[in-house]
Amino acid sequence: MDDTVLLAIGTRKGLWLATSGDGRKTWDVTGPHHAMTEVYAVAIDTRGPVPRLLAGVTSEHFGPSISTSDDLGLTWQEPDHAPVAFPESTDASLARVWQIAPGPASQPEVVYAGTEPSALFRSTDGGRTYSFVEGLWNHPHRPDWHPGGGGQAVHTVLPHPADDQRVLVAMSTGGVYRTTDGGDSWHPSNTGVRVSFMPDEYPEFGQCVHKVTASLEAPERMYLQNHHGVYRSDNGGDTWESIADGLPTDFGFAMVVHPSKPDVVYSFPIEADARRFPPDGKCRVYRSDDAGKSWTGLHQGLPTTGFWSSVLRDALCVDDAEPTGVYFGSRTGEVFASADEGEHWQRLVEHLPDVLTVRAAVIRA
């Protein structure tokens, strides 16, 4: 019997859930869950005895929250008191949760939340309630972090899979920061990442990093999509080298590494900062099988012309099935899925609101 694969689709106006029990040939789609909320962040946490969905939802009227479901979206729970809230001493308030990241497998109750304004929160109760990580907020660089086009937010949180003291975050702008002491101290990790919008092309920090993705199999191997620039690190973020050659453009937002092959990474290139369209209006995912030395455009089953939509930073993901599934959603409400590592694609759903995030996982029977 095939396991169920669950795909969570966060949009500008709610969350949709797609499930497939036949090897990802057909899908059942439910939604909207949390209708009329922006769902910037969603996670499928399969570490515990029961898979848990976590959704970062923001109502334009009634503010942000994190809601959880332990029955695959049939019912949702949130605590009475705000699960993520800035301490009074910060004089800040939560605008939205941009990222929900389950911690290492050895700590199944630990979950991180990256927020706007740029801050990190840590949960030790499976993502129901969160504590403020003061070390990042108190970083002396913080006054010099400035909002990118989408807002000043920690949009990427990568807990190290084997060392619970190590976490990487990325923000726009600000760049990459890492801790090796559980969040007490943080250090910029942007060596080699170029900026195109400041006189100093290689500052210590201030980069507009759009996404970082790290291999679970080889956690020192990371990939980074910058605001112009695509990079790889082989030393956990100490240094970055360009891997943009072979891509049609070095701009884009989304990037995700294969769950078990550290040399395989996916990107959805966008033409340029000033022209945020897929190159030539062609809907193509690019994959490297050799850690960024070369790239292949994947297009079988995707629109070949006239695709002027784009893919946001969290709207590209992989599942943990065999073979690996790849998914992306567009700002025009389409979601495409591949059940064979990107070789062939099908349109899973269309006419949704703008897709902000997708996450997929196998739900073991």
């Binding site: 334009e60 009227h61 009634f62 503010g63 008191h81 705000a82 800035f86 009074e88 308030s93 939560l94």
Partner: protein, 94 residues
């Protein structure tokens, strides 16, 4: 003194289904104090109405006897016995 709070339909699920709530507050209590009292019983309602700094949510309106509080003194608006506080989501979104 007592203040009558009218709860919009979209928020009634977080106040046990009530459309109206009677709040007992000290004489001459402000809107902010009244919301503090309400928060003690209905914390989930409170975070729909105010952020963690107790600032009113931008797109939620609070009509004090028919006048939106931002035209009065905001959360410092002084209420009176029998005052009607109507909470209404404003026009927003797309």
């Amino acid at each position: 003194m007592r203040v009558l709070v009218l709860v919009p339909g979209v928020l009634r699920s977080v106040v046990d289904g009530h459309a109206k709530l009677e709040v007992e507050v000290a004489d001459s209590a402000t809107l902010g104090v009244t919301l503090d009292v309400l928060a003690a019983k209905y914390p989930l309602l409170d975070r729909r109405l105010r952020d963690e700094r107790s600032a009113l949510r931008r797109y939620v309106n609070f009509y004090v006897d028919g006048e939106e509080c931002r035209r009065l003194a905001g959360t410092d608006t002084v209420l009176h016995d029998g005052c009607e506080l109507q909470v209404l989501p404003s026009v927003a979104g797309g």
